[in-house]
Amino acid sequence: MLELRDVTAGYDRRAPVVRGVSLTVRVGEAVGLLGPSGCGKSTLARVAALLHRPDAGQVVLDGEPAAGWRHRAPRAQRTSFGVVFQQPRLSADPRLPLARLIAEPLRANGRPVDAVPELAETVGLTADLLGRRPHEVSDGQLQRACLARALALRPRWLVCDEMTAMLDASTTAALVGVVEAYRRESGAGLLAVGHDRVLLERWCDRTVGWAELTSA
């Protein structure tokens, strides 16, 4: 179970973007977080994935409070999240070919990289794309690689921050399908952030609007 308790976060202590928000993702649950652009939902997603230190509040992973943020978070806690961002161009190191990109979390943890072909197949990347660098593939293909990277360490929670906002309908369907297949098999929880009500309501067990979160 992933719990965010009274999280206040932002980029300037005097003007926090997120004020006193609490949110729970139960075991195996898919929670959609709906909100207009710029409201702070991405910040909240980054806090949930331990990538941004909140000004106040707690993140609790299976009853255990997060011990730190970014590099200060213990590796076991950080890697229990698979994060997919909105813009694949910015979330891929431009120098790494896709195979290296997908293998990066495995290498960082000293695990064997032979899982890469299988991961690539899961997200629907063909072998010839794996040798290309990010600027040589389309946004959709790159986002597939980013999803494969997020799944590489078999995380307990997936945080998808507007994962499909840059993609066409068929790629969106394919990626959501991959996420759901992984969740069925592993029982991972999902926090999906977006502003597409139709998509999130079809995809998630429960959809929370930004307004209800902040008023409650």
Partner: protein, 296 residues
């Protein structure tokens, strides 16, 4: 909306200009590369292979104007100025390259540390940079050279210690911008350590910029060496460098003998312009917006 005729006309004008610009750029790069190659070969090959003594004094042939025997003329004790210029350029380029490399290494280390660590180390290092930058750098350079005996190494140290500031600032800004990219977040989430993020993701991103800064600094360092030597603080006067050559020719210039001043000065100008031309081409390649313009 503009009608078709004007639109096509404009396109054509734009294309012609682009083609002209591209070809002049290509020629500038080729010209610079050729000049740099010739100068580097000259300073590397002439001293070991030519059986000529640059210090050979010939008082019967002093202050001869340029001729076939002495293309750059001779100086006030009859030494051949072409040979002196080659030796001078050798020393000046050596000083320039070593000083630029040292300054870039120091600047990159300081900038990368400041950018990657953030917080108080960042503030401390940047205030240090501000302190150095608040003193006019030629003055600081003179101060450093004055502490040592004249020679090549004090000049290198002086130029290097006064020129790492801008590289540190550039590298720090670049690291800060890279550090906030989502791909660093993704690496952290994937369990990468600080060291791994710095070495695998941040450093490769700043090295091209730092390398460019180093090349751009070479001509500047050559000028600094010349300035220090001209002021009589850099290299000892018997050691030919572009600066000492101009300095020792000052007296004869007032007597109307122009060649001992002109040719070493010309060497400095040609060498620095050629290196700067190459660096400019590199910068255009590095800048992705410019590059995409070139490809279109």
């Amino acid at each position: 909306m503009a009608d078709t005729a004007t639109t096509s006309g404009k396109t054509e004008v734009w294309r012609t200009r682009a083609v002209v610009r591209r070809s002049t750029r290509a020629w500038r790069v080729r010209g610079s590369a050729a000049v740099v190659l010739v100068l580097v070969l000259a300073v590397l090959l002439v001293p070991p292979f030519a059986q000529l003594d640059q210090q050979a004094v010939d008082l019967t042939a002093k202050l001869r104007p340029p001729s076939w025997a002495h293309p750059f003329g001779t100086d006030d004790v009859g030494r051949d100025l072409l040979l002196r210029c080659v030796y001078g350029l050798r020393v000046s380029l050596l000083v320039g390259v070593v000083a630029a490399v040292v300054a870039t290494v120091v600047g990159t280390a300081v900038g990368a540390l400041a950018g990657a660590l953030g917080g108080w180390p960042d503030r401390l290092l940047m205030r240090l940079v501000d302190v150095f930058a608040s003193v006019p750098h030629l003055l600081l350079g003179i101060f450093i050279v004055a502490m040592f005996r004249p020679g090549v190494w004090p000049v290198v140290v002086s130029v290097a210690l006064t020129h790492w500031l801008s590289t540190a600032r550039i590298v720090r800004a670049e690291v800060l911008s890279l550090r906030s990219r989502p791909y660093v977040d993704a690496a952290i989430s994937g369990g990468a350590s600080r060291h791994r993020v710095a070495v695998r993701h941040l450093l490769p991103g700043v090295l091209p910029q730092a390398g460019l800064a180093a090349v751009l600094m070479v001509p500047h360092a050559v000028w600094h060496e010349s300035a220090l030597s001209f002021l009589g603080l850099g290299l000892p006067t018997h050691q030919a460098s572009l600066g000492t050559l101009v300095q020792s020719a000052r007296g004869s210039l007032l007597a109307g003998d122009w060649w001992p001043t002109l040719f070493p000065g010309l060497c400095a100008v040609v060498a620095t312009l050629a290196i700067a031309g190459l660096a400019g081409a590199w910068r255009e390649r590095l800048n992705p917006r410019r590059r995409s313009e070139l490809m279109l």
